[in-house]
């Protein structure tokens, strides 16, 4: 039996849901970033799977989208972690529940 597209999509959906779980249920800013990175990786897996299983695959198209998506995710991670460090310097905490100065 050769695996079909649905297997890859379900694995990707599971990975996305685990990322969502990490982003929604944890209180530590770094955990939330890890969850977001995991959701982006699941999206990349979807890009590659759809490219590979397309009836007439265009050779570099899906790979290009995945490469650009990885580059943008790397930029997001760098800025996000820099913000975590900046917030930690000001408030001495990384718990997102305690960062409520702008709350009305």
């Amino acid at each position: 039996m050769t695996p079909n597209l649905q297997v890859f999509l379900i694995v990707s959906a599971a990975l996305f849901s685990i990322g969502l779980l990490a982003a929604l249920s944890r209180r530590h800013a770094i955990f939330i970033l890890i969850g977001i990175e995991m959701m982006l990786a699941a999206a990349n897996l979807n890009f590659i799977a759809f490219w590979r299983f397309a009836p007439q695959p265009k050779p570099p198209l899906g790979v290009m989208i995945a490469i650009f998506s990885i580059a943008i995710a790397a930029a997001e991670a760098a800025v996000g972690l820099a913000m975590v460090i900046a917030v930690y310097r000001h408030y001495r905490t990384t718990n997102v529940d305690q960062l409520d100065q702008l709350k009305g």
Partner: protein, 160 residues
């Protein structure tokens, strides 16, 4: 594509991802995140996108995971997670997974097997990056430069 390899990789990836999402200790979670990324790279190898798999290993495990570990070490002082697990997030995640799985299994046009395809060489990717995708490549380069300079400015010591 081999189904035994696929099942093993899927189990390892999802177990590591679940560990990264639920472990109490930050450092353990960050290292499980790296293991999950190795699993995703293995998926890319399985799907015939070796270059993307290698790029994922270099960028995510070589740079992003190390950056996360450094950030954990720099913000070490509060390790306490505080209150317990937030069940609302778990319910939402399970609902999203159920909805996605239901719609994937319901769509008959997705039950296809991969067509035969000539292997994608790195040379083809390089030629495409320098011809068709040269403007997106420049834009991503600009974005990365701006993001890294912005990150540096964010963490610079403030002079009072």
């Amino acid at each position: 594509m081999n189904s035994a390899a696929l099942i093993i990789i899927a189990i390892v990836t999802l177990a590591a991802a679940l560990a990264a999402a639920t472990l109490r200790k930050l450092m353990h979670a960050a290292l499980s995140f790296a293991v999950a990324l190795v699993g995703i790279a293995a998926f890319f190898f399985l799907l015939g996108a070796e270059f993307v798999g290698l790029a994922l290993v270099f960028i995510y495990i070589g740079a992003v995971a190390v950056l996360i570990v450094f950030t954990i070490l720099l913000t070490r002082r509060d390790v306490g997670e505080g209150r317990g697990f937030n069940w609302g997030g778990a319910i939402i995640a399970v609902a999203v997974f159920g909805g996605l799985t239901w719609s994937i299994l319901k769509t008959q046009s997705l039950a296809i097997v991969a067509p035969r395809m000539p292997a994608l060489t790195v040379k083809q990717i390089g030629v495409a990056l320098m011809t068709t995708y040269v403007w997106p490549l420049q834009c991503v380069g600009l974005l990365l430069t701006a993001a890294l300079i912005g990150a540096l400015i964010l963490v610079m010591e403030e002079k009072r």
